[in-house]
């Protein structure tokens, strides 16, 4: 169904208010959710339906517990993960501007960080290269050759500044994002074959069964290796828990590199733009009209929504959101 963009924004903010967030916090979370929603990414307002994301009553302000010129570690103090990761993003931008590189991690958050593309785009918009990893002790994904959920969906993202839109690669290391399963379940749809197992280890296309079983890591042993690396970097390294669905101690890691400390900033952007042009104009497989850059299709969808003022949203999902906002 079609919804007015402004209405979607208002309803999202209302739902967040209902979940207990103040207006500043709501703004941050809403920006991150709508970044995804307007780009057709499944890390959007689906997070607000059902149990949603009630603000944790025992949450306190995030605190920097370790710091050096290029690196810092934050105790999230049970503040919402998006707010903590947004703070980390600002910190790495600051560090990378000063010293050339910044790495900031956190532990002690429990919610999903949403689309990592948001954070690396924020970094790339400042002319810096952004890299982000997110993990959680929540077990959804099996290693290659296994049907036992050990890893989280462990996404990673890269943001690269160009002379125009930044290139944003945002990918889970699982064969489908967890919210892709929730979305399919909400819409009463099956998922593609070869994505996951039920509890007994049998292949299934039922999203609910995969949620109680395991998602596969993407593309065999390479995807599985990447899943393991992300779990190490965004949990063990930052003092968060791992492989324990009962734990509320999740972690993330954000990094920024300042290209002007290697080549000149303009040279970097110029060269990446040259690369983009070459890729876009390269020969295509039969029947393929366009080779898209990572994040490009999402950006097109976003611009379309901005221009028309309308957003296409799945009906059950929107009703869930209206419920969460208490307007229905």
């Amino acid at each position: 169904m079609k919804v007015l963009l402004n209405e979607l924004k208002n309803v999202t903010l209302k739902a967040l208010k209902n979940y207990g967030y103040d207006s500043k916090e709501s703004k941050v979370i809403s920006d991150i959710l709508l970044y995804a929603q307007l780009r057709g990414n499944n890390q959007g307002v689906v997070k607000l339906i059902g149990n949603g994301i009630p603000k944790r009553k025992d949450g306190k302000r995030p605190k920097v517990v370790k710091t050096s010129p290029a690196i810092a570690l934050i105790d999230g103090n049970k503040t919402h993960a998006m707010i903590v990761m947004d703070l980390e993003t600002d910190m790495v931008i600051d560090k990378a501007k000063k010293i050339g590189v910044g790495v900031v991690g956190n532990f002690n958050t429990s919610e999903s960080t949403g689309a990592l593309g948001y954070y690396v785009k924020k970094i790339a918009d400042k002319g810096l290269i952004g890299v982000a990893f997110a993990s959680a002790p929540f077990q959804t994904t099996a290693a290659y050759g296994s049907s036992e959920a050990l890893f989280c969906t462990n996404p990673m993202a890269y943001g690269i500044p160009t002379e125009k839109d930044p290139i944003i690669l945002d990918m889970s290391t699982s064969a489908i994002a967890y919210y892709g399963l929730i979305e399919a379940k909400t819409a009463g749809k099956k998922v593609n074959e070869g994505i996951g197992y039920d509890e007994k280890g049998n292949p299934t296309t039922d999203p609910a069964k995969i949620m109680s079983g395991a998602i596969k890591a993407f593309s065999g042993h390479k995807g599985s290796g990447l899943a393991l690396v992300v779990q190490v970097l965004a949990s063990a390294l930052v003092n968060a828990d791992y492989f324990n669905s009962k734990s509320n101690n999740a972690g993330n890691l954000v990094m920024a590199i300042n290209p002007s400390f290697f080549v000149s900033k303009n040279q970097f952007k110029k060269d990446v733009t040259k690369m983009v042009k070459k890729i876009k104009s390269s020969r295509k497989l039969k029947g393929v009209k366009e080779i898209y850059l990572p994040g490009e299709r999402g950006n097109l969808q976003y611009q379309k929504a901005l221009k028309s003022g309308f957003v296409e949203i799945e009906k059950n999902l929107y009703e869930g959101l209206l419920n969460a906002a208490g307007v229905k």
Binding site: S146, I160, G201, K222, L237, V272, M275, K278
Partner: protein
């Protein structure tokens, strides 16, 4: 033919010494031997004649960029020498400042097996990420031009009982494997390459005329291949998409001291626990789950213990001749 590893090493040392200083030889030799012993023969002693026959213009230069980053200009030297220098540089930066980033450009050949470098760095209790861009073989998703190199990325993570090593090409197959299949008149596996019309092929010659695919034949692998082209090509000022003149390789070396974020002992214990948990997770075929890097290191360790290895006779003879000729 079989040969004592010590003898082989001595021969390679002697032949390299005919063109390079002792310091330079001791940087390249272990990279070459690592590949030979871990049965990544395409980066082993077969590379020696080209390294010896191609005389570099001048010595590689280390250019300090910031406190935590350097660029190494290879000045036409072999990638294994430039890589060896970069590896040492990044370790000393990370030990002093908690993090180091080193880019390389101007190498005229591959830096070799990235597993070698990340193992070396991780054994010094540092987290390593190493990437390499190479001349183009791989088409973007839905394209059919050879734009990206096989662009590998490797991670080394310190752990109890030895580091976790994960080394993957972002291509579905390496150039060496395709070339090998062509010479031995063998077919390629399915889903690794397309011919010049974009049709899937198992014929190595058709694959060399067409393009290789990314490891997943999808947007994630394509995105990763592009990120490596940017981070190990554009960022250090090396070539990208072969838009420059001649073949040029580039690298990015990143090392992080885990002590900046965590306790080293705790971190290493956790990583080992994670590895063992993955290994013993519920298996589909009843076998232990494969841990990245272990097979390669085990092969290497077994050869080292036995002290004897089989090498390609033709390659060995060629090196022998070269040594005699150059030392005349």
């Amino acid at each position: 033919m079989k040969i004592k590893i010590k003898e082989l090493e001595e021969l390679v040392r002697k032949v390299l010494q005919t063109k390079y200083s002792s310091d330079e030889v001791e940087l390249m030799l272990p990279v070459i031997m690592f590949a030979e012993l871990s049965v990544t023969k395409s980066h082993g002693i077969v590379r020696v004649p080209a390294i010896v026959n191609k005389k570099p213009i001048s010595k590689p230069e280390v250019k300090e960029k910031t406190k935590v980053s350097n660029i190494i200009d290879g000045n036409g030297n072999p990638g294994m020498l430039v890589g060896g220098i970069a590896c040492n540089e990044v370790m000393s930066l990370a030990k002093e400042f908690g993090i180091g980033i080193v880019g390389t450009r101007g190498s005229v050949s591959s830096s070799g097996c990235l597993s070698y470098y990340v193992e070396k760095i991780a054994k010094e209790d540092l987290i390593a990420v190493v990437m390499a861009r190479a001349p183009g073989d791989v088409a973007p998703y839905k394209g059919l031009e050879r734009l990206f190199g096989t662009n590998p990325i490797a991670f080394g993570i310190p752990a109890d009982k030895g580091p976790l090593i994960f080394d993957m090409a972002t291509s579905a197959i390496s150039w060496g494997a395709v070339d090998n299949a062509r010479r031995n008149k063998q077919l390629l596996p399915d889903m690794v390459a397309v011919d010049e019309d974009g049709i899937m092929t198992n014929d190595p010659q058709e694959a060399l005329d067409g393009a290789f695919l990314t490891f997943d034949n999808s947007y994630k692998g394509y995105g990763l291949a592009m990120m490596i082209e940017i981070l190990a090509g554009v960022l250090p000022g090396a070539d990208f998409l072969d838009l420059g003149e001649g073949d040029e390789w580039g690298n990015l070396f990143l090392a992080i001291d885990p002590k900046t974020l965590s306790s080293l002992d705790e971190f290493k214990t956790k990583v080992r626990l994670m590895i063992e948990k993955v290994r013993k997770s519920k298996s589909i075929d009843g076998k232990d789950i494969r841990i990245p890097g272990e097979k390669r290191l085990l092969l290497r360790d077994n050869f080292v213990n036995r002290g004897i290895i089989s090498v390609d006779e033709k390659v060995f003879e060629e090196i022998n001749r070269l040594e005699k000729h150059n030392n005349k």
